[in-house]
């Protein structure tokens, strides 16, 4: 979609700069004249919202570092100093802590949008994988950031996650020691996590640039999954997308502000306001909400190494997705069966999130026991998480590959501007006989 540039330098200075560094041209082509499909809905505004989240995290983070002390002896006190003494320190810290949650809300919506509308399919595989890389970096950044306040949850969260790597054969113990910089999570660990927590957001920013670059090469997908074919299918980025993104950001900021000002600790854990004590583990240790589905997958598997592999495998599935989905139809708008499985997938992810927050042996319904299957009662969160994990993997490894080959899809419109019903293959029987090669 990177056609020839229509930028016309108007003033002498612009002409002078354009001949030397066409940066204004780049901005104009990318954010003003850039053609966007005319049928983008509000699910497409989360890219802009995510850029806002990243900018907000960078700015608040840089200010926090001015007041934070990365040392096991002083970190906890310095966070309290930020909360009590630093001008608007409470606001900056709550924006940063809740901003991480908002970032993940937006990224999950963004990813599910891509999953539903088939935004990972050719030619957008690299775009999708870059997005997965950003997600991976976000998880590493969020985890390390959570360690910095050096509260009880910070400390024992770090212990659990660094020990995950210890499950790997041969290299495991060395990786763990390397992460710790000692015999256990301690001052050395805090210092290296602080360093990396400062570095990784800039790496994210770098991959975001690649992500947007890849996006502008292949162009945006859209709710029909049909590539724009003519001028009638697109609208210029400004004012259409900028105004729509701006409105969506404003609505998103209302949600953000509600958490920052009215529920600043709703997404955190009270135990993290207790300073780290290596000799006592909090009775109920859970990660932040955005890691809960993966945590549930980890706990669903009774074997340590297999549990760790399942958890990383859950993320690996995302990377392989462009090659797992065999359907030629991009958008699930025209894939009624896939749509159903997609809805179950979203429910399964939510169930995994719930299971991750509960104790494994607690009953799901009521307080009764059914019968013991394997190592736990069937009416327990550990069994619920096993069923949900099974569906999670089946969705990627069985349903999407097989469904694409056998599913009866609905007729796909010829172009974005023309309605689906004018398609010659309007009757569903014919549609399956001559499937949608036009996408």
């Amino acid at each position: 979609m990177s056609g020839h540039s229509t930028y016309q330098p108007k003033t002498g200075i612009e002409r002078w700069l354009d001949a030397r560094l066409p940066i204004v041209r780049l901005g104009y082509d990318s954010f003003v004249d850039y053609p966007t499909p005319r049928n983008l809905n509000y699910w497409w505004t989360f890219g802009g919202i995510l850029s806002l989240c990243l900018a907000s995290q960078l700015i608040t983070g840089i200010i926090l570092v001015m007041h934070y002390t990365p040392s096991a002896d002083h970190a906890f006190a310095s966070v309290e100093h930020i909360m009590r003494d630093v001008n608007y320190g409470w606001l900056i810290r709550y924006m940063h802590a809740n901003g991480a949650s908002m970032f993940f809300i937006a990224v999950y919506v963004h990813m599910l949008r891509g999953l539903y509308y088939g935004s990972y399919k050719a030619p957008r595989e690299v775009l999708w994988i870059l997005g997965c890389v950003i997600y991976l970096l976000m998880m590493a950044t969020a985890f390390m950031g959570y360690v910095l306040p050096w509260g009880q949850m910070s400390f024992h969260g770090a212990v659990v996650i660094t020990n995950l790597f210890g499950a790997l054969p041969i290299v495991g113990p060395s990786i763990t020691t390397w992460l710790w910089g000692g015999f256990a999570v301690d001052n050395a660990t805090l210092n290296r996590f602080f360093s990396l927590h400062y570095l990784l957001p800039f790496m994210i920013a770098g991959v975001v640039i690649l992500h947007i670059w890849a996006l502008h090469v292949v162009g945006q997908n859209n709710p029909t999954g049909v590539e724009p074919k003519s001028k009638a299918d697109t609208l210029p980025f400004t004012p259409y997308a900028t105004v729509k993104d701006g409105f969506a950001m404003s609505v998103f900021l209302i949600l953000f502000a509600t958490f920052v000002f009215y529920l600043p600790n709703a997404l955190g854990h009270a135990d993290n306001y207790v300073e780290a004590n290596p000799l006592v583990t909090p009775a109920h240790i859970v990660p932040e909400w955005y890691f809960l589905p993966f945590y549930a997958i980890l706990r669903a598997v009774p074997d340590k190494l297999m549990g760790v592999l399942a958890m990383f495998g859950a993320i690996a599935c995302l990377f392989a997705l462009p090659w797992l989905d065999t359907s030629k139809v991009r958008s699930m708008r025209y894939r009624p069966t896939a749509k159903l499985y997609f809805i179950i997938f979203v429910v399964a992810c939510c169930i995994l999130g719930l299971c991750g927050a509960k104790l494994p042996d607690d009953p799901v319904l009521g307080h009764f026991k059914t019968f013991t299957l394997g190592d736990a009662d069937l009416n327990s969160f550990v069994w619920l998480s096993r069923f949900a994990s099974l569906y999670y993997f089946a969705f990627f490894l069985v349903i999407l590959p097989v469904l694409g080959l056998v599913e009866k899809t609905l007729p796909v419109p010829d172009s974005i501007a023309s309605p689906a019903l004018s398609h010659p293959a309007a009757a569903p029987e014919q549609a399956t006989a001559a499937p949608e090669m036009k996408g």
Binding site: H156, V159, V160, T162, N163, L164, T177, W178, L179, W180, G181, G182, F183, A184, V185, D186, A188, R192, P278, L279, V280, T281, P282, A283, H284, I285, R299, P302, D303, K304, L305, G307, L359, P360, D361, D375
Partner: protein
């Protein structure tokens, strides 16, 4: 990024056992991790020895986990072999330790009996300097 010299220098520690009464446990910090020094009651030892033949993930005799003739003293690294949380004594199905993070049950010898942990609670290298003093590490 491997441990620095001053971190490695924290490698060993000495402990006076007279501080631990019968049936009590003292938790020290050793190499940044908790260390349990437990003065076991005869009932606990009996229970551990009686279970020597039971089915276990990481089979080990109780006698191999203590120093000869010092069966009352059980010295363990108090870090769950699953993901490193600190197990609490008195919980679980086997009268020993219970890990609150992912529900591993250890018996009175610190052996894994139920739950996701793969190995028994580790016994560190230690020696008796006298009847009442141990050197750990």
């Amino acid at each position: 990024m491997n441990p620095s010299a001053d971190t490695l220098a924290l490698a060993s520690t000495e402990f006076d056992l007279t501080k631990v009464a019968d049936g009590q446990q003292v938790t020290l910090k050793w190499r940044g991790k908790p260390l349990f020094v437990r003065n076991r009651t005869p009932a606990e030892i009996q229970k551990a020895v009686a279970d020597d033949g039971a089915a276990m993930k990481d089979p080990q005799k109780d006698a191999d986990r203590v120093k000869p003739g010092k069966a009352q003293w059980l010295v363990l690294i108090g870090s769950c072999t699953h993901l490193g949380c600190v197990p609490t004594f008195g919980g679980g199905d086997y009268g020993g330790w219970f890990c609150p993070c992912h529900g591993s049950h250890y018996d009175t010898s610190g052996r894994i009996r139920k739950g996701p942990a793969p190995l028994n609670l580790a016994v560190p290298e230690y020696e008796f300097l006298s009847d009442t003093k141990v050197k750990i590490g």
